[in-house]
Amino acid sequence: MFLENRVALVTGASQGIGRAIALTVAKHGAVVAVNYYPGQSDQAALVVEEIEKAGGRAFSVAADVSKKSDVEEMVDAVVKRSGSLDILINNAGITRDQLLLRMKDQDWEAVLATNLNGVFYCTRSALKWMLKSRWGRVVSLASVVGVTGNAGQANYGASKAGIIGFTKCVAREVASRGINVNAVAPGYIRTEMTDRISPQAREELQGRIPLGRIGTPEDVAGAVVFLVSPGADYITGQVLHVDGGMAI
């Protein structure tokens, strides 16, 4: 229970990787604020229920992370309810895939707004509280796409590469205050987001993965929880790939 007495906020935790992270972080003793995009309250409630059934503590909180005011209200609400904010997992993210030549302005902007601006707003708000207690862990979800690229995902790739640069800069800024800032770069993970890939594309993908399988949300959650555990106290500014060896 190495996260006992810690308060964790996981964005986009109503499904997929975020949900797995919330469940795993709760299992190690943290109180988990399960953030969901407005409209996903039922799914978020299910995650809270699952955590509580397993003996953990959690509550849900809505926010569209692309909106600064939503984020500030959310962080204030979490701190008001739980007394602190020690761990921030920036997981909320979307895709709007399209080849660049055909990519619409709004599809570029929407992905950057949620994936990158969201990380900016959430981290900036959370840091205020972590600085006060001189302890914090921030883990943001980047992606193999932000490192090696993928056709049709210029917006997504840009946002994820942006998260990597952001992580390294902020890690340097707050390291002296006991706050570690890292990123996890998942490869292809079986979730609602990737379920939309065609079976042929999926098979082709699997062929390219050294470990021979598509990842699970639990694979990613394991890496995230490691980064917020005492075992990772000397790790900051890093990008931990969880991609079955796709990018070596």
């Binding site: 205020k128 600085l131 800024e173 707050v174 002296s176 205050r177």
Partner: protein, 81 residues
């Protein structure tokens, strides 16, 4: 906050500095510069934020940059709160 005396403002500012920078109270006088107190850039940001919160005001970056001593902070608060 309009009726706070200079001394009261100074004492509040001093207590914030003592807490933030971990220095002794008697190391903080009006003429003391933040540089002399070994405040790094993050310390200054936190100090400004603490002042904003305590005195219920916003201190834009251009103004914050000019607050180099404890006395300057007290003057600024007096003039703007």
């Amino acid at each position: 906050m309009a009726d706070l005396s200079d001394q009261a403002i100074f004492e509040k500012v001093r207590s914030i500095i003592v807490e933030q920078l971990g220095v002794e109270e008697n190391a903080v006088a009006l003429e003391t510069s933040f540089e002399a107190l070994n405040a790094d850039s993050l310390d200054i940001v936190e100090l400004i934020m603490a002042l904003e919160e305590t005195f219920g005001m916003e201190i834009p970056d251009e103004d914050a940059e000019k607050i180099l001593t404890v006395g300057a902070a007290v003057e600024y608060i007096k003039a703007n709160s």
